[in-house]
Amino acid sequence: MPFSAQPPASGEGYALSASLDNARHLSSLLRAVHFQDHATFLATASGLRVTVEDAKCIQANAFIQAEIFQEFSVQEESVMFRISLSVLLDCLTIFGTSSLPGTSTALRMCYRGYGYPLMLFLEEGGVVTVCKISTQEPDELLDFDFCSTKVVNKIILQSEGLREAFAELDMTSEVLQITMSPDKPYFRLSTFGNAGSAHLDYPRDSDLMEAFHCTQTQTNRYKISLLKPSTKALALSCKVSIRTDAQGFLSLQYMIRNEDGQICFVEYYCCPDENITEAEL
């Protein structure tokens, strides 16, 4: 299907056009942020950013840089639209979700511009499926104003150490409390559920700890229902960076390596439920 990225002339051009040999590179990342039905797509020359938000408290972003695609072209400075993420994922995985070695779904994505649907051409084993998904006006996105200069505490952990912990979080607890400190307990995840409280402590000298930069003792609580979806991103990732700023806003950044060894990122931002400055043990 020859769709070339020509400058728009008599409606031939596409605001966004991209090709991907293995649609899984996109679908697995999108699944990691799929906790709401709709997402906002932002395409720039550097790549694609897919944003999902909930309750004005949490925002997740999946970044797929242009280099991941075999072909990636954006006509304007940026292209933005709102789309149903559930429908998009269903289309991307239309040939099934099981990954047999050697087989993959090839994807071609085209978007003419404002008001037009997103076109997907998916091919596997000679079978082609064409999907048209309607797009909407993009919502205004939250700006957590989280920048590296304001970071108070930061640690980088190997995801392996957190995966089980997140999967087994006591969901009868309303909050997940995160304590980060230059002193004991260094890094602690706590829940307060029906059975009682549970604390998970990671010492700073643990083999799992790749980097430990905590300047101040901070204890913050976040709604556990908002953070639970990040477990998907954690499951895919090899490393996670956990940062908090002076207001207690939380940034979780997941480094994900895809099947071809390429690196992508997913990040979650969450605002605190309550601000507790004293460590609550």
């Binding site: 912990a165 059975a195 009682g196 409280s197 604390h199 402590d201 643990s206 799992l208």
Partner: protein, 357 residues
Amino acid sequence: LSRIGDELYLEPTESGLSLRAVNSSRSAFASFLFAPLFFQLYEPGSAGPDTELFRCKVHMKSFLGIFRSLPSLEKSVGKCLILLKPRASRLVLQLHCKYGVTKTHNLAFQECERLQAVFDTQRCTSRLCAPARLLADAVVHFPPTLAEVTLGIGPSGKISLRNYVEDEAEPSKTMVTELWLAEDEFQSVAVAPGSHITFCLKEFRGLLSFAEASNLPLTIHFDEPGRPVIFTLDDTVLEVHLVLATLSDLESNSQSPSTNGVSHLPALSDEFADDLESYMAAMETNEGGSEGPPSPTFPLRTPQPAESEPEEEEEGAVPGTPPHKKFRSLFFGSVMTPGRPGLATTQEVLAEDSDGE
């Protein structure tokens, strides 16, 4: 233990940590006693002259939730520390995992009375000991939904297991499964021919899986119908008891309360299929008679000043057992000290208790 009750009773004693459970109708009781040697460190705390060692109960689900995934526990957890903090009202379970990670669970507990069923394996007239595998293989033939099973000894000494069918069930619509095991399949047999007991399979299955997994032989101590059946597992560091109430028999109800006479059952004929219906009829128990004297088959509680623990006031036939189930509830009261003069059994013990191997 979770197959029996919703609450886990923890009782540290000088001889080890005892974990116990009882079911809501008080017809099943189990205890697991872990000797101090089982642990790397065991400090039961100190009991003063007037105080006892602290004990408590926690919600079974909360406790089990901590040990949710056994395979991952085995891989990642090095050791587990259990602390009972009465003043903080918390039972602390701390798992030390690999990479230096520590998981601390603080469970709320409730103080409780001592949970102890009255039973005495020495007083049981019959005893069977078998590898858990044998019984597990036998029990697999019964549907998972089966409630009660009857263990019986045929006149020739063969051991049978049959599903118990409610009297109200129509004989033509019910399926009866019976299997016979030869004596030599058991490690030891000391039984009275013609004896039989009917007990709840569900609670027994739980113990059976544990026995199979730990590869321990299972000993069954039983007596007459109506008297509890006691299953035991013994190990150097672990002692397990499961006490289940058994269905009492029509015949034994007519005995006077002061004797503990032997109930005479119609002998199981070898052509049991022909006698099935009459046998079933004989198994019928007297449901309406419970307003009469207290159960003749349970030892009565005597006030014993030496037993300083405040015990629960439980009598024999306690309501709370669902009426259509004719099980007597187990007696929970002072623990009988062996050798006390009490209700004498008129039937002699056929074989002395010996160690299960």
